[in-house]
């Protein structure tokens, strides 16, 4: 039977992807400025949305094997790519896609090693 605690790394992956999009939307533009970052409500919302992730990770680590948590948490990367395509219109070419797939496999290997 599926361990109910699997929901925590799944929520964390969703939150991580949403945070990336919010922070990017908060500061994107030609000229980066610290003042603009500090005044961006979207950026701060993304920042504070990250706080529950530490709690969810602790709950997951307490109840699940790390070999399950790491691959599930890495769902955040494909989710981020999908969200950034929908929300920011970012497109990736074939070579970049191959590179990203290699990076996802690499992170999973390093996480469970």
């Amino acid at each position: 039977m599926l361990n109910p605690y699997i929901i925590y790394p799944i929520i964390s992956a969703f939150l991580t992807a949403i945070i990336g999009i919010l922070q990017k939307k908060g500061i994107q533009g030609e000229k980066f400025s610290l003042r603009r970052l500090l005044k961006s409500k979207r950026w701060w919302f993304g920042y504070f949305l990250g706080l529950p992730i530490a709690y969810f990770s602790a709950l997951a680590l307490n109840n699940l094997d790390v070999s399950i948590i790491v691959p599930v948490s890495n769902l955040s990367i494909p989710l981020l790519i999908i969200f950034s395509n929908i929300s920011l219109g970012e497109k990736i070419n074939k070579h970049e896609a191959i590179g990203i797939i290699l990076l996802i496999i690499s992170t999973i290997m390093l996480g469970v090693a």
């Binding site: 990336g20 999009i21 922070q23 990017k24 500061i27 994107q28 533009g29 030609e30 000229k31 980066f32 400025s33 610290l34 003042r35 970052l37 990367i77 981020l80 790519i81 950034s84 395509n85 920011l88 970012e90 990736i92 070419n93 070579h95 970049e96 191959i98 590179g99 990203i100 797939i101 290699l102 990076l103 996802i104 496999i105 690499s106 992170t107 999973i108 290997m109 390093l110 996480g111 469970v112 090693a113």
Partner: protein, 137 residues
């Protein structure tokens, strides 16, 4: 010049340096950031962890270095994503940080090295190479 102005000036200098070199910045920033958990692990290893001992370690010279490089790495990432695709930079940053932390653990903290770790690091390098070689903004 006020402290606030000095911070803003150094930040603007950093932003100018990063412009046009976002991929390299994220690679370098994440590699440096990957050392922060290694230093933290070195500091916290073997101590009886309480709220007080945790903050004492955090405020030691090495603890301050670990926090500073973590913060620098985070800010460099923020500067880079303001003009570059987050769908590329985010996977790069998380994988490089993990790879450097794993290798730092092996080389500095004498943790064991197995085939899976080595293969993971090699795949990370190939992945970064594939992205940087054919990257189009």
């Amino acid at each position: 010049m006020s402290f606030k102005q000095k911070v803003l000036n150094s930040y603007n200098w950093l932003v100018d340096k990063v412009k046009g070199k976002e991929l390299k910045t994220v690679i370098a920033g994440s590699a440096i950031g990957g050392l922060a958990p290694v230093i933290a692990s070195y500091l916290l290893r073997g101590i009886n962890l309480t709220f007080e001992s945790y903050f004492r370690a955090l405020l030691s010279p090495l603890g301050i270095i670990a926090v500073s490089i973590g913060a620098l790495s985070y800010m460099l990432f923020q500067v880079a994503i303001s003009t570059e695709k987050i769908s590329l930079l985010s996977p790069m940053a998380s994988t490089i940080t993990t790879a450097v932390t794993v290798m730092g653990g092996v080389l500095i903290l004498s943790e064991s090295l197995n085939l899976l770790k080595l293969a993971g690091v090699i795949l990370c390098i190939i992945g970064i190479w594939a992205i940087s070689k054919n990257h189009k903004k």
